[in-house]
Amino acid sequence: MSEDTSYRNIPGTIIFDAEMSRRGYHLNQFCMSLMKAENRDRFRADERAYLDEWKMTEEQKLGVLARDYNRLLSLGGNVYFLAKIFATDGKSFQSAAATMTGMSQEEYAAMMLSGGRRPDGSNGNKVV
């Protein structure tokens, strides 16, 4: 294959390309199912049983149960699909993003108020 994959060299960033999409197909489609209120209720009632209805890998299922979003991203999850999980949990995009950076929600919110994470780190916030 000769596709340009230079986007894979950006630190702390996973581009949702063909390889990730193939790896994450069932994980992401599970996430889509949470757009229906009845499915959200069934998932909340017994998360493991609901996950076992999907052709996901065990590692993906454990990632969902642990709400380990970085792990799920590396296993083919896309953030707009994973958003259905944290929406089901009543969590905001900002609180989920904070967990991916290893910061508390307060620390992350403070970083955003100070102008966010600059690509060159010039305002004191970490580059990655």
């Binding site: 986007y7 581009i15 707009y80 993003a97 950076t101």
Partner: protein, 280 residues
């Protein structure tokens, strides 16, 4: 004939919609964001567009991994607000303009842009937040809206150059529609932001402001920015900015800048907003 009177660009951050829906727009965190649209609301109340051609992206709401159209045009009579995981936003149903949408579809496909035709889809915050920012909270949206969804979720998204050229074809199509309509074209999404991974929270004010400058004065140069530059400089979700180039492509080379606004942050995102009068 139909006239394209103006182009509007704006970010479409979901938290902005939530702030408005929950009555938080006057709070200190959100007030500066909404103040950036005070002029815009007054302006559009006088402009009274008949139709808004609204370029946005779906965020795994109408389109799952089952079907991923690169460019999809809404030709239906109406489009309902999507349930994105916490219930649909309490905003009016969007009414389309099937006659103009089909005219654009035919013209643009015959100009070699292979659109996907959609008669039924729900529209998410990508489309409804810009409507809320520009029109506030009316009981019904005051104009028809043609939704135009661009894939920027699954790599590869269309290039900026392709979006800009498509915008030109859309502009030509609208101007050849045989009804006296006041049409605006909106490009939404961006500006710099990254919602995922250890680099989440990325903001790049220099990139964003340079992009605004180029979009207004040198759109050909803006259209040459490659995918990798958006991702590296403006974050993985900053790629949404290619949708602004569709708006700009539909306008004439010369435009008159009526309003420019930039604010950091809204949740994870840099908010940018332009109003460009067509023809300068």
């Amino acid at each position: 004939m139909a006239r394209i009177t103006a182009g509007v660009s704006t970010s479409h951050v979901p938290a902005i919609g939530a702030a408005l829906d929950l009555g938080k727009s006057a709070e200190p965190y959100w007030a500066p964001v909404f103040q950036g649209f005070d002029f815009s609301k007054r302006w559009i109340a006088e402009e009274k567009p008949d139709v808004v051609f609204l370029v946005y992206n779906d965020h795994a709401s109408a389109f799952s991994l089952d079907l991923i159209p690169t460019f999809a045009i809404g030709c239906g009579e109406e489009f309902k607000p999507a349930d994105e995981g916490f219930g649909a936003r309490p905003v009016p149903v969007v009414h389309g303009h099937p006659e103009l949408a089909w005219h654009i579809t035919q013209s643009v496909i015959q100009d070699d842009f292979d659109l996907t035709i959609v008669n039924k889809m729900d529209v998410d915050h990508g489309l409804t937040v810009p409507l809320s920012l520009m029109f506030g909270q009316p009981d019904a949206w005051p104009c028809k809206v043609i939704p135009f969804a661009v894939n920027v979720v699954q790599y590869p998204p269309p290039s900026g150059a392709r979006c800009y050229a498509l915008g030109k074809a859309i502009g030509k199509a609208i101007r050849s529609f045989d009804q006296d309509l006041n049409v605006q074209i909106w490009g939404t999404g961006g500006m710099s932001h990254q919602l995922q991974g250890p680099r989440a929270g990325l903001i790049n004010q220099e990139f964003d402001n340079k992009f605004l400058d180029l979009l207004i004065n040198d759109p050909e140069a803006a259209a040459r920015i490659p995918h990798i530059d958006y991702v590296r400089e403006a974050g993985s979700e900053g790629i949404e900015l290619v949708m602004w180039l569709i708006m700009r492509g539909a306008l004439e080379a010369n435009v008159d800048l009526l309003h420019r606004f930039y604010h950091v942050p809204a949740s994870n995102t840099a908010v940018g907003h332009l109003i460009l009068k067509n023809g300068g």
